[in-house]
Symmetry: C2
Subunit: 460 residues, 2 copies
């Protein structure tokens, strides 16, 4: 083992990024503008400020400013759980017998269990600064809701989470973490909102959906004085905040003069992947360096590898702005995969545009293989990974094995977005040999894609 | 805030301890020897080597060697999740408005979720080195079983865990973590062992007890060629391995010239507390420094504050050696507290002797107050603590508030042994306002203590 590179590279506090990086600023061809779902015209700052905090709406629309100062209060919060380590996977390398050097940026060492906290604290901070009373959001599996609850507790901001009813009932632990942090967690559909009451009347006994939970959260924000809605992925503002992952990773690599050959991340809505690759994609856009950037998505929800690049609704409830993105259609219902965080029909418009420009490649993997990789990783590296993160592990291992065949000592970097401690039902299915794979048929995809909204936009 | 002291002090890899420290070597009056439960005479190395690996048996009996080299393989494993951070609790200090400086040594950043892994890898290593096929153990709540499963998976050693049946059924997540790491997890009482079959016949439908699980694990080790039994707390060998906590904490404090005024740890069997305080107690024993050392135990199981110092069985099954310790009697059944790791009738003989010599003070706290402290801590410091660890948080906060009253800027250090991610049922009871406190009556204690074994030992 190369004793010059420690198992875990931790930046010193003074080496931590003090600015977020907005990769859009370095893109010659920008992501297409997001559209008002009512008018189908590019959304204005005023319109967007009705849903999101004003500062966040500004960040959302700003595709020219490369760096945003991270406010001191957010830096203070980051210091409680950041910098996250860049880990050299010595034991995994040994297990695979590969000459490759494998590194992972581990974002799971905080109570939310994932990278979501990076944006949650930013969004809660700007809400607090604007003098709001609270924020509303939806959560499926619960990572985002947990992260937001933690951020709001820290800032003494009210937090209302609409949790998809089946998760509320089947994942009581996540629900209790949120409640411990003082959040009000409501099973969706609820009787608190018009859309919830309507849904309950129309489908008695329904266990809910993410689309409905979003609609309820938006309605709750609109109908209460001093509240705004917040969202944990997909948005450009979220990718901006998540750039802290990539900036730290790059600083850690630079500190030890390591040049990454490839950077791999799992891709659901794109928040982790976009944050991780942003600084590296920026170098590529500026002609300063070359990397192989790989997005890994579940074969059950293959928006990049099998979707189309078109305007679509970001939410199934069709209340949020439309974005141009790689999408399977907002009506696409992915199979009950255990990587809940990757079950999204579309992809961040920034990631989509980078992919369309060829800066990024994509690969889809099936979940049984992903869990096998997760188990191998857990045994040798000691961390039980989240199913989402394990998609990146699988491809990193595949690439390391290729290096074994070719004898190349490539530097493979991947994002380990979180831990699987609240995903043990999925592991149980795997342990019991009952896990199944599902790949949508061409017919299913064609049908979903045929229902995309008809939008003609001639801006940019 | 003093910007000279970072939020988290991480030692560099080369600053990590390369030896464990055996505080017994510096004690003029040593802990009394452990006794063979059959003969009631001091147990010999040969006898002990039948139950434990030979190297561990040697460590158990060695009260004169101050430092033991940590084998390279264990150092390599430690580097995957150590050094653990010594965190300056800036946000908690601000919340309490205290002039005190609060630090905590956080052992929860690994998949086992606690400090248990420090000894699990050591015990698994020596078993592997001896050429054994596997190890057996018992687990209640599951922290120790999880840690041992991880260590055995890393070393490719068979791991058989007898898990108290009610936990096996009620805590399926911990069970699945162990299974993911390849351990064989058996609900106890099982039909695999004589003692288990007997128990099932005598008490049909019983949900088991830790005492019975220990007896099954010992029997399983004895009856299989190439197996030994391992235990996660109480033993002197475990405290030796856990000294890595205190050594790292001391090195981190020394690095920033911080002189701790008090060091606080929760106390169940004593493994975390003993490991944390060992190097500091060593300084006190050698007359080099003075600290206030505080053990915190649950009011429901107050072995130090209300027990007696006498020889007792370490396990309710009475198969393990006897130790002289502060005990409530091995027949004492603590109430169903949510800090499962602190529900032990006795206390490590090393911690007991330090307490008896007056180097250590003890305090007991009730669980509702403990969960209130845990919630406050979680909200401002971002980590959801284990119920066990939260006992130390409660007393650290009490001490910080005293400093506010007296205006003293004391340095308070406490051990945050783990996270509460698998304890959400307990938090749910707290969130729902349904948590109860229980303090045993004098009559209950007198009765349990009256049943202590009659032992006369005249050694040392």
């Amino acid at each position: 083992m190369n004793q010059n590179i420690p198992y875990k590279i931790y930046l010193e506090e003074q080496e931590m990024p003090k600015q977020w990086y907005n990769v859009r600023a370095d893109m010659k061809k920008k992501p297409a503008p997001i559209l008002n779902p009512g008018t189908l015209k590019p959304v204005t700052l005023e319109e967007l400020s009705g849903i999101f905090c004003r500062e966040l709406a500004k960040q959302e629309l700003n595709d020219t400013t490369a760096y945003f100062d991270i406010p001191q209060e957010i830096l203070d919060f980051y210091r409680m759980y950041r910098p996250s380590p860049l880990v050299r996977a010595y034991c995994l390398e040994k297990k695979l017998g590969t000459p490759a050097h494998i590194y992972y940026k581990f974002e799971g060492n905080n109570t939310s269990g994932s990278h979501k906290l990076n944006s949650a604290i930013a969004q809660a901070y700007y809400a607090k600064k604007q003098g709001l009373k609270g924020v509303t959001t939806e959560t499926g599996a619960g990572q985002w809701g947990t992260a937001l609850s933690m951020a709001c507790a820290y800032l003494d901001l009210d937090c209302q989470v609409y949790m998809v009813k089946c998760s509320y009932e089947q994942k009581p632990f996540r629900r209790e973490v949120m409640r411990t942090y003082g959040a009000k967690v409501t099973p969706s559909p609820s009787m608190d909102t018009e859309v919830g009451r309507k849904m309950n009347a129309q489908f008695p006994g329904t266990t809910g959906s993410l689309g409905c939970a979003i609609s309820e959260a938006v309605e709750a924000a609109m109908s209460q004085e001093g509240y705004r809605y917040v969202l944990g992925s997909v948005l450009s503002q979220v990718l901006l905040h998540q750039s802290v992952i990539g900036l730290e990773a790059k600083a850690a690599l630079d500190k030890y003069n390591i040049k990454a050959d490839m950077i791999i991340g799992c891709a659901g809505g794109g928040s982790n992947l976009g944050g991780l690759i942003s600084p590296f994609a920026g170098q590529m856009l500026r002609g300063e360096a070359e990397y192989k950037l790989i997005a890994v998505e579940p074969a059950s929800c293959p928006s990049l590898t099998r979707g189309v690049y078109a305007y679509d609704f970001c939410d199934t409830g069709k209340v949020c702005p439309l974005a141009k993105m790689y999408t399977l259609g907002s009506g696409f219902i992915p199979s009950a995969s255990h990587a809940g965080g990757l079950r999204y029909h579309g992809m961040s418009s920034v990631v989509s545009e980078l992919y369309d420009q060829g800066l990024l490649t994509a690969r889809s993997v099936e979940q049984t293989e992903v869990f096998k990789a997760a188990q191998t990783f857990a045994k040798v590296e000691g961390i039980l990974p989240a199913p989402e993160s394990s998609h990146a592990i699988k491809v990193a291992m595949d690439e390391a094995i290729k290096c074994k065949e070719t004898g190349e000592a490539k530097n493979i970097v991947f994002g380990l977005t979180g831990t699987g401690y609240f995903d043990m039902m999925a592991y149980q299915r795997f342990n019991d040999g009952e896990m199944q794979d599902y790949v949508p048929s061409d017919e299913d995809l064609t049908k979903a894609i045929s229902q995309l909204p008809k939008v003609n936009v001639s801006v940019h």
